[in-house]
Subunit: 218 residues, 2 copies
Amino acid sequence: MKINILQDIMSANDRIAAKNQQLLEENQVIAINIMSSPGAGKTTLLLETLRRLKSKFKMAVIEADIASTVDAERIIEEGVPATQINTGGECHIDANMLSQALSQVNLKGLDLLFIENVGNLVCPAEFRLGVTKSIMLLSVPEGHDKPYKYPLMFTTTDAILVSKMDYLPLSDFDMPLFKQVVSGMNPKARIIPISAKTGQGMPDWIDWLESLLEKKYK
Amino acid sequence: MKINILQDIMSANDRIAAKNQQLLEENQVIAINIMSSPGAGKTTLLLETLRRLKSKFKMAVIEADIASTVDAERIIEEGVPATQINTGGECHIDANMLSQALSQVNLKGLDLLFIENVGNLVCPAEFRLGVTKSIMLLSVPEGHDKPYKYPLMFTTTDAILVSKMDYLPLSDFDMPLFKQVVSGMNPKARIIPISAKTGQGMPDWIDWLESLLEKKYK
């Protein structure tokens, strides 16, 4: 009985996700869902990405937070439109929350839409949203053992950015082991080590985004 | 209707939490619920704490993980009994999961029971467990702005350990600002900066634990 109810909720979510996907495709918008633990650097990566791409592409951001609007304010200061989702205590975005946020975004002519999910390595991976790609950040200080503990997040994302690479000298993060484990779990995922502070890996990340946009214009 | 169902679930949880609390008190066990983001250093803190206290007190650990048993194995290597809760995808422990785990722990003569919750700053704070104290770790690399984003966690914990203090020189973590914000939200919480690597703050944390045990023997 309990399982049936859960399945109903999930398929209702998937139906709305399919509508989100259709809406985004009709408007030729590349939508990127960004997930990570709290404090892994999602907002910092986003701000740095907007700075590098805002002269070339039309972009917008949907910011999800449990209660605050601090991240959306920082995006708007960067000159990029931001829409806030307050999840009201929920630890993830679901397709319905995204659908409501999309109704407030001007999708006409938009190239790239970033969706910053709630900081959480568990629940956000369980809800289809209808986006083009889902990515995650794992910061070096969190440790290379996280794929074992949060397997769904590592197996359902299209790119895994290892952030805060500037902390590597102080850390025992084992990059070869991490790459080996992730490649076994999710062979298609692109692994990109980055540091928003030093700029390391940012060109690889930007190239990855631009390759998605190129396909759009083919 | 939806809210009514949620309230029913929560009060069922609270009833079981009250039973857990009674069981722990009957056995004079001090139970500490440890929460944090993934990778903030819960297991490292636990291992270091067990090393410092195992000659003085009888201790046990309940380890919660979504899927793996790696942390419980490390605890057992330290010579302390560990019981594993696999939450089966759930992003938190609830009172019922703890109740089931408690039935497998030898509570007779036990002084200290540590419960390592799932790495998550959202959901674990929503479920009463019936423990003596709840604490959280916030690691320096996560940033000092987290209380604004995850307010429930910061307002419901009895002690807040700022971990990975050895990363402070590389970070822009503003400790005075952090202390000011947390004191405003949760004036009773004890804030303890620590580094399991350098040992900084470990005596303060151990003192805090021992003061709980002293009350028990009064």
